[in-house]
């Protein structure tokens, strides 16, 4: 248990440092880390503090958000196919973000961007949970997710196509696939308060989710209020996914892959899976973001492309498995 935590933390620290020293500009690792700590007033410090550091921090925050949200939803629905990207929560958040950018609200009101993404995410989570029911079967959950994703994607595309800005239409790819390229400390400040709030809400679900594995009646007998659990889950997920999507677009599959890999290590306890998935999600997104910089540095390969290449085959495998189990 603590061994898993130690391994994950060590891996996270290692990848975080790697993310800081790797980049298109050819700078030695020692030199770049020194420039990060000591401000020499030169271009190097600028690159480290305003480009690489925010990018690495965002990868950790957003990866942790998506991993944790996936683990929480899977725990609540007791269904391994629940992932904020797949069931349309990220897509709805992206639509909220796009609306606030295109109407100009995001530029005038502080925190309007993450808050409108949060609103979009809330609508998405709420719709999915009401459509899928309290104990959503895989089929209704996935169908509801497909419908919400398609609708959100269509509305996002429509808004961007209607924009008078000549660049807006090409941004559809960013909102569907996600990227951390050229983010700045401004984006870290926009995202972290909501991610922290959502993270606390989701972490508070641990006991409830563990109790829920014994069944709803047993959980209620143990003093868990299911209504409150559900409300906390909805707001927590919407907060972390909304803030993440607002600054990095919709990145799918992290919430699906990470809990799936880590579940055996925590003895299938959804409460412990929450923090493990937070660490795991941060690791996965850091790896993906390092990969897009190393593999195709000049093309701004989207993060969602990589996560989908890993996640989609796993998704197919999970569908096959749930079918065999007769769900």
């Amino acid at each position: 248990m603590t061994r898993l935590m130690a391994v994950l933390t060590a891996l996270l620290a290692l990848l975080f440092s790697a993310a800081l020293v790797l980049g298109p500009a050819d700078i030695g690792p020692v030199e770049s880390l020194r420039a990060l700590v000591v401000d020499n007033g030169g271009a190097l410090t600028l690159v480290m503090r305003e480009i690489r550091l925010p990018r690495a921090i965002l990868a950790v925050l957003i990866g942790a958000s998506l991993g944790m949200a996936g683990a929480a939803m899977q725990g609540y629905l007791r269904n391994p196919l629940a992932d904020p990207g797949l069931i349309g929560v990220s897509g709805s958040a992206a639509f909220g973000a796009v609306l606030s950018i295109q109407t100009g609200v995001a530029a005038t009101v502080a925190f309007a961007l993450p808050l409108s993404a949060l609103t979009g995410a809330l609508v998405g989570v709420f719709l999915v949970l009401s459509l899928a029911g309290p104990r959503g079967s895989s089929l209704t959950l996935i169908l509801a997710g497909i419908a919400i994703s398609a609708l959100a994607a269509a509305l996002t595309s429509l808004t961007l196509n209607l924009s008078p800005n000549p660049f807006a239409a090409s941004e559809i790819v960013f909102w569907m696939m996600g990227s951390l390229a050229d983010r700045s400390m401004t984006h870290v400040w926009i995202a972290w308060p909501l991610i922290a709030l959502g993270g606390v809400l989701l972490a508070s679900l641990a006991r409830g989710l563990d109790a829920l594995t014994l069944g709803e009646d047993a959980a209620e007998a143990m003093g868990i209020s299911l209504k409150r659990l559900r409300l906390t889950l909805v707001f927590g997920t919407a907060a972390v996914v909304g803030a993440s999507t607002a600054v990095a677009g919709a990145i799918g599959f992290i919430g699906l892959v990470v809990p799936h890999i880590l579940r055996p290590f925590v003895g299938a306890k959804p409460g412990q899976l929450l923090w493990a998935s937070a660490l795991g999600g941060a690791i996965m997104l850091l790896v993906a973001d390092i990969a897009v910089r190393v593999v195709l540095p000049s093309r701004d390969l989207k993060l969602g492309v990589l996560t989908a290449l890993v996640g989609a085959p796993l998704f197919l495998h999970l569908i096959y498995k749930t079918r065999k189990e007769g769900l």
């Binding site: 298109p24 271009a43 690159v47 480009i51 950018i101 800005n165 807006a168 090409s170 960013f174 050229d182």
Partner: protein, 283 residues
């Protein structure tokens, strides 16, 4: 800033002489429709009175078109084969970026279509002007404009001395190298282009870190559109802001930079002014 002004006195006289045969046409076309922002402007410059009937809608937008005022005397078109056919033109002028489906359909319907290549150098501008003169049966007018363009351009080329290093930076972090029109404008204004050092002879996405590490003497960015987009957010990234503060900051206006027309002289003039300011600082 000096502004490119056409010497119209001599051109009007030349325009009275219509010569043919041109591009397989028996005589100079009388009802011409242009469907591309750049050919719109070339056609407006070179066409004789009442010869040009319609230009594309983009030509009316002062952000991208240097001749938005002049365009108002023409009928706008959206570049769709159907509406163009109904205008009953005897010649359609398109750019190489116009949709092939549209030009192919117009040809099938029996409308002559001339496609102009994209200008990627200052010499190309002369060629396109002369080509437009041939196509419209106005070679003398075209030659007049070219002579004026050559004279003004020569003045800039005589002046460049120290060649400070500049970066062209546009939405999404796109930069233009020496083999593009924007790159040629930069060279004509007496700058060296950091895109070339970074290995972009044409154009490409210059990572923000590479931009910061190359430490240019000047940074020339596009002006963000009033309607916001994520693509242009990069132009207000703290790193770009820092570069603007510590180096010369220039602005890239689409209307003078995008199309191969004599209006690039305005872009060269503005950029050369930036260079003189840098030299004035003693840097």
């Amino acid at each position: 800033m000096r502004v490119f002004v056409l010497n119209f006195k001599s051109i009007v006289i030349a325009g009275l002489v219509a010569t043919g045969p041109v591009m397989g046409l028996a005589e100079a076309p009388k009802r011409v429709v242009s469907v591309n922002l750049c050919t719109d402007q070339l056609a407006m410059l070179v066409a004789g009175p009442a010869q040009l009937y319609s230009v594309s809608e983009l030509a009316f937008d002062p952000r991208g078109s240097a001749m938005a005022e002049q365009a108002k005397t023409y009928v706008p078109n959206g570049g769709f084969a159907e509406e163009i056919y109904l205008m009953q033109p005897d010649l359609v002028i398109a750019g190489s970026f116009s949709t092939p489906a549209t030009t192919a359909m117009l040809r099938r319907l029996g409308v002559p279509v001339v496609v102009f290549d994209y200008a990627s150098s200052l010499a190309d501008i002369r060629d396109r002007l002369l080509q437009m003169g041939d196509v419209l049966g106005q070679p003398e007018r075209a030659q007049m404009i070219v002579a004026d363009f050559d004279a003004q351009l020569a003045a800039f080329q005589a002046e460049a001395t120290t060649n400070p290093r500049a970066a062209l930076y546009q939405a999404n972090g796109y930069t233009s190298g020496d083999s593009t029109l924007a790159g040629q404008i930069l060279i004509a204004a007496g700058f060296e282009n950091i895109a070339t050092e970074a290995g972009f002879p044409y154009g490409g996405f210059l990572p923000l870190e590479v931009l910061a590490m190359s430490q240019p003497d000047a940074i020339i960015t596009s002006n963000p559109d009033a309607a916001r987009s994520r693509a242009e957010e990069i132009l207000s990234h703290p790193v770009v802001e820092a570069l603007r503060e510590t180096t010369g900051a220039g602005w890239f206006s689409d209307r003078d930079w995008v199309c191969g027309t004599p209006f690039v002289l305005n872009a060269i003039a503005a950029t050369a002014k930036l260079r003189r300011q840098l030299e004035g600082d003693g840097s």
